[in-house]
């Protein structure tokens, strides 16, 4: 359940920005990008966010979660490809010289306020 720690970190990041004035107005939605390699379960994250923000100014705020696929780039054959099973070798030439292009994201991109 690393979702609990992640939910708390989301709440802290937003509360700091409300306190500093960077965010004004009532926050309704927080938009997130979550890479699939992080093994975050969206429903668990929503539930933990609800728990950690209960009785705070963020109570009732919705999380909009965009799941980002795991993609790799092969330094040997230059192919870009999606990694859909746990095998980080190039699926074209089978080289292990693969760097990840995406899939480890854990970021906040925007908030919707009114």
């Amino acid at each position: 359940m690393h979702e609990a720690g992640i939910a708390q970190n989301i709440a802290t990041a937003i509360q700091e920005r409300i306190a500093s004035g960077e965010i004004s107005g009532r926050v309704r939605t927080i938009c997130l990008r979550v890479g699939r390699l992080t093994a975050v379960i969206p429903d668990n994250l929503r539930f933990m966010f609800e728990v950690v923000t209960r009785d705070t100014e963020l109570a009732g705020v919705q999380l909009e979660i965009e799941l980002i696929p795991v993609r790799g780039h092969c330094a040997a054959c230059n192919a870009d490809f999606e990694i859909d099973e746990v095998n980080f070798w190039c699926n074209a030439c089978h080289s292990p010289r693969v760097t990840l292009l995406s899939g480890q994201e854990l970021s906040i991109t925007a908030v919707e306020v009114d």
């Binding site: 009532r26 854990l106 908030v111 919707e112």
Partner: protein, 223 residues
């Protein structure tokens, strides 16, 4: 602007920025004190404490060491390690909200109880778990995953993030291999599929078999 309809404010930030900030502070404290920090992760029962016991026993004449132990409810691991004669600090994560891993701020609290500038090497024994600890930077220099052959050779595929973020993997309990149908070749293959550049040692913390390579590695990090 209240009541004037919805508005989108763009923010680009890492969710774990608060954690990462504290991790950077921890890292600076380690640098100032010239202490090397190794995080030990692994499933419950993989042998994290046994590996630390064997390591401390072998190296306590060469290196000044201490251990911070994350345990959900008990002080058993800390007691085992304290018997080896090194400073040991217990973090019971339950008192921080029942978490299943250590974060930068939990480690920071423990650091106040450690004389960092009198150490060469600090081990952090993470909570037994292969999912949660992998996500949180604490400022450590290296992450070691302890995997035991009783867990099955598919574990790197089931917990890719932990194995991918590992700097080193210790494959423990190899003295039990004659009694198991564990496929070491398949494990090596799975490990390299997840983390092609990873280094690993196959050993038994309990019998002492093949411990030398691991001990040399630890010595090299700390000096």
């Amino acid at each position: 602007m209240a009541g004037k309809g919805k508005q989108k404010i763009s923010i680009v930030t890492n969710i774990l920025e608060a954690n990462d900030r504290v991790a950077a502070e921890n890292r600076k404290r380690f640098a100032d004190a010239r202490v090397h920090v190794i995080d030990i992760m692994g499933s419950p029962g993989a042998g994290k404490t046994a590996l630390l016991e064997a390591t401390i026993e072998a190296l306590h004449d060469d290196l000044r060491m201490a251990v911070v132990v994350g345990d959900i409810t008990t002080t058993r691991d800390a007691e085992r390690l304290a018997k080896k004669g090194v400073p040991t600090v217990q973090i019971m994560t339950e008192s921080f909200g029942g978490a299943c891993h250590l974060e930068a701020s939990t480690l920071r609290q423990a650091l106040d109880q450690v004389a960092l500038d009198q150490l060469d090497l600090l081990f952090v024994e993470n909570v037994g778990n292969l999912v949660c600890p992998a996500e949180f930077d604490m400022g450590q220099h290296q992450r070691v995953v302890v995997h035991s052959v009783t867990e099955g050779e598919d574990k790197p595929l089931k917990y890719p993030l932990a194995f991918r973020r590992a700097d080193l993997v210790v494959i423990n309990k190899i003295d039990l291999l004659p009694h198991l149908d564990y496929d070491v070749v398949a494990l090596r293959d799975n490990l390299q599929r997840v983390n092609p550049s990873v280094q690993w040692f196959e050993l038994s913390a309990r019998s002492g078999q093949n411990l030398a390579g691991w001990l040399d590695w630890v010595r090299r990090q700390a000096k």
